[in-house]
């Protein structure tokens, strides 16, 4: 109801009479206590007057007073020339000379004026002119540039993105000083959240087909309410039901730069420090920014470690269940005897045991994320007791199971991309159920289904399982090494 009235009034043009405009704005901003309306005038007879409108909670009071100097300049000109201020004169002045020492925007509809007020601009209406002028007076406090806590690296720049979009773009621009680095704004009409969304790419490096596909999908963003950049993923992803994320995120400017150099498209929005990188393929989720900074041999080893972590976090509990309940002959004798020792006296079958312990673990993880830091440490202490010694002593779980569950957990932590680790957690449960019902045969069925899914999955039309999915042995180095940036963009040509 309210929405409709706002819509109808904002479509109106700006009237030459400021009072009329103000009345309309007051109508639009009904019950909005933080909108300030002021009438200011300059000159000896107060003849040069204007109405300013701004959002008190966003705009700086000082900016409002800047307008007074504008009016004074106008007044001086009027007196110098002796001409009365006509519409023509004001327009020319704004169009060609500029009267304020900061950038300003001229609006001719109420709608854009309203938006500017809501973005922290100071908008003012001159007498005898059917346009509004606005300039940025945003004074909102933002976080300083600091190292992103979610993506720590032992080496490399410590610079992370902040919630201010133009600052983020600036930091990227500093790293990519080429006109090929394009930043495209997406019009955001029709959204209440009114966030500015931009996407960037490196022209000549990004494959044109990918860019075209991306642009076709990103158009949808203007009809969706956005609070964070991560919400854009839902608009551009290929498969909704896949557990695998098809975009990755970073808060590091160097990671975003490298993604651009590799021919990716990045998406950023005002008010969020998250940079979305798309299209993303599976092997990229196993890479960390440090891979580019370390020596090659070390990168190779670390990649192998992560691939192992990926497999462990996916398969270890299910393999344990399959081996102990179906294929005990596959376990080496000494290990088997050790496991039988630990299993003796446990009342549950292995599968129930593993599900209980995984549940405990997920519970702890969830509790640890939500709670404030002070209480969070209490959770980890209690958790260590429950999942560790107490569970063994009370006969719920065997020590071997604790090892399996905690190893799985640690392995999933070592995957650099959090959203990818979530996929592992989901699939892990499916694999446990499969192995509990069919043993190694079930795991094989699961792996085949998983491979089928991965080979069919696309990210912005690009094969997700590349270079394994479309079998490209020459590209296998991508799995264990950081990408060669000199070669990037060859696909585009």
């Amino acid at each position: 109801m309210n929405n409709e009235t706002t819509q109808t009034t904002t479509n109106l043009p700006i009237s030459a009479n400021p009072e009329e405009n103000i009345n309309r704005l007051k109508d639009i901003f009904k019950q909005c206590a933080d909108i300030a309306y002021e009438r200011i005038a300059a000159g000896p007879d107060m003849c040069c007057s204007a109405w300013i409108v701004y959002c008190e909670s966003l705009a700086d009071q000082q900016s409002a007073s800047d307008i007074l100097s504008v009016l004074q300049k106008m007044e001086m000109r009027r007196r110098g020339n002796g001409d009365p201020l006509t519409t023509q004169v004001i327009r020319e002045w704004f169009d060609f000379q500029g009267i304020i020492d900061r950038s300003y925007f001229i609006h001719d509809t109420m709608e854009s004026a309203v938006r500017m007020v809501l973005q922290g601009h100071v908008v003012f209406f001159m007498e005898q002119w059917d346009h509004a002028v606005s300039f940025d007076g945003l004074k909102l406090e933002t976080r300083g540039v600091e190292e992103p806590s979610a993506e720590r690296a032992s080496i490399g720049p410590r610079e992370g993105t902040v919630e201010n979009l133009s600052l983020n773009i600036g930091m990227l621009r500093m790293r990519l000083q080429t006109p090929d680095f394009k930043i495209v704004k997406i019009p955001n009409t029709g959204r209440r959240t009114g966030k500015e969304v931009v996407y960037g790419y490196l022209d000549g490096v990004v494959p044109p087909a990918v860019l075209q596909e991306f642009e076709r999908r990103i158009v949808k963003v203007k009809d969706h309410e956005l609070v964070d950049t991560t919400m854009i993923e839902k608009l551009i992803q290929d498969s909704t039901w896949s557990p695998f994320p098809q975009c990755r995120y970073t808060e590091r400017t160097d990671a975003a730069t490298l993604a651009l150099l590799e021919g990716k498209i990045i998406v950023m929005s005002q008010g969020s420090g998250v940079v979305l990188i798309c299209p993303s393929v599976l092997v990229e989720f196993l890479q960390s920014i440090e891979d580019y900074y370390h020596r090659r041999a070390f990168t190779f080893l670390i990649r192998l470690l992560r691939i192992a972590a990926f497999l462990i976090s996916l398969f270890l509990p299910s393999i344990y269940v399959a081996l102990t309940t179906f294929h005990s002959e596959l376990i080496p004798t000494v290990l088997l005897l050790a496991i039988t020792n630990t299993r003796e006296g446990i009342p549950f079958p292995a599968v129930v045991e593993v599900i209980i312990m995984e549940y405990f673990f997920e519970l702890l993880r969830e509790a640890g994320i939500r709670l404030p830091q002070a209480v969070g440490s209490a959770v980890s202490i209690v958790g260590a007791l429950i999942i560790g010694q107490a569970a063994i002593d009370s006969g719920i779980a065997s020590p071997m199971m604790i090892v399996v569950v905690s190893l799985t957990g640690i392995a999933s932590f070592s995957i650099p991309q959090y959203n990818f680790a979530i996929a592992m957690r989901l699939l892990k449960v499916l694999f446990i159920l499969l192995s509990a019902s069919l043993g190694g045969f079930g795991i094989m069925i699961g792996i085949l289904l998983l491979l089928m899914h991965l080979c069919a999955l696309r990210s912005l039309g690009q094969p997700y399982f590349d270079p394994i999915g479309p079998f490209r042995p020459r590209q296998f180095s991508l799995i264990v090494e950081s990408a060669d940036l000199r070669k990037s963009g060859q696909d585009a040509v």
Partner: protein, 386 residues
């Protein structure tokens, strides 16, 4: 959509079904670690299974420490499989044979029958073909009772003894079920099996010596002191010490040579209707302990090597005499002959054991001393004295 939902429901239901595979928790299985096959008192066979008894995690540690970690189940019956299947009536758990480490068969029984006892182990899918087989002097069961020296169970104790005796001492041969099958099925039709015996004096079991067997039964034994030479001839010697007696004047003292590398090659020869064979043995070793020899210069070393060569040759020839006496071609000469001359082999095949017993076998031994420690004289050695 309806089809998809249907499919998912079917798959989920299928997962709930019981399959014909062996789903069983570890706590429902009894792991057999060793088997002892003896001659029964009333029935033809008596089989003892050593089953691992898991130590529960609960309860005071002192209670846990006192219990042994295995139990023996002995049953009599007509066949190995029927006895083994009866096990669960006693243990209350399903016996799992995949982790058997050793199968002990008593000498008494093996002297009567061999192949048909082992038939079950060839056929059963659970038993690994890599399981070692050993002949036990006396009751095989006795070797599985009592307390293990170091290992958890006596089964693994005996298995480890065999393993190290074969690989690092050169006093036994590790014969698995598969090896046995190959040897008995080959044209030579004879096999070597390790022996275990109990030393009365010190109350300990020793794995040394080799039993000679033909498919039907065991026919003879190679004593422990001759075992290394048989292994050298059969190219199965890995590492160990060889004794060299000092001579009659030295009150039975002996020296040793440490064998670092040894290999042999059997070359069968066929001239007309007579078969013969040549065995080249190469031994690379270093002086292990010198008591009655002094090595001062390369000439001494050569003399030392020559003495060893002669001694080894004598020993090997005596081993060959034993083999020919028992008519067991465990060196596989017959099989090699068959591979070389498949058509002419048919003539020999019928009475090969007789032919083998009579055929001349030439042994060439070459000893190479790689390290006599000549350059580092030490106060106790006779190397480099004066």
């Amino acid at each position: 959509m309806k089809a998809k939902a249907c499919l998912i429901a079917w798959v989920c239901a299928a997962l709930m079904l019981t399959g014909c595979w062996s789903k069983m928790e570890l706590t429902e299985r009894a792991f057999v670690l060793a088997l002892a096959v003896d001659k029964g008192k009333k029935e033809p066979l008596e089989v003892t299974a050593q089953i691992y008894r898991p130590a529960s995690q609960f309860g005071a540690p002192s209670v846990r420490a006192e219990t042994t970690s295995f139990v023996n189940v002995t049953l009599e019956g007509a066949s190995v499989s029927s006895i083994i299947r009866k096990n669960k009536t006693i243990t209350g758990r399903h016996s799992q044979f995949s982790h058997i480490q050793i199968i002990l068969i008593s000498e008494e029984l093996v002297k009567e029958r061999l192949s048909d006892i082992l038939d079950f182990f060839f056929r059963d899918p659970e038993v690994r073909l890599g399981t070692s087989v050993m002949i036990a002097r006396g009751n095989a069961r006795d070797y599985l009772t009592g307390e293990a020296m170091i290992e958890n169970t006596l089964g693994s104790q005996v298995f480890k003894q065999l393993n190290f005796s074969a690989s690092l001492a050169g006093r036994a041969v590790n014969t698995t079920i598969l090896d046995l099958a190959f040897q008995l099925k080959s044209e030579s039709q004879s096999a070597m099996l390790p022996l275990i015996k109990r030393e009365r004096k010190f109350q300990q079991s020793v794995v040394e010596g080799i039993a000679l067997a033909v498919p039907e039964k065991m026919v003879g034994k190679i004593p422990a002191n001759k075992t290394p030479y048989l292994l050298l001839l059969a190219n199965k010697y890995n590492y160990g010490l060889l004794d060299i007696p000092c001579g009659p004047e030295a009150r039975g003292l002996g020296e040793t040579v440490e064998v670092l590398k040894a290999y042999s090659k059997v070359t069968p020869m066929l001239k007309g209707d007579s078969a013969s064979a040549r065995i080249d043995v190469y031994i690379e070793g270093s002086a292990g302990e010198l008591v009655c020899t002094s090595i001062r210069n390369p000439e001494d070393e050569a003399r030392y090597a020559k003495k060893m060569t002669q001694h080894f040759k004598d020993e090997m020839e005596s081993v060959l005499d034993l083999l020919q006496k028992h008519k067991t071609d465990v060196l596989g000469i017959g099989h090699k002959l068959y591979l070389r001359h498949p058509s002419r082999w048919q003539k020999f095949k019928k009475d090969w054991p007789e032919t083998f017993a009579r055929m001349p076998i030439e042994v060439n031994v070459k000893v190479h001393i790689v390290n006599s420690k000549m350059m580092s004289p030490s106060p106790f050695s006779k190397i480099g004295e004066e």
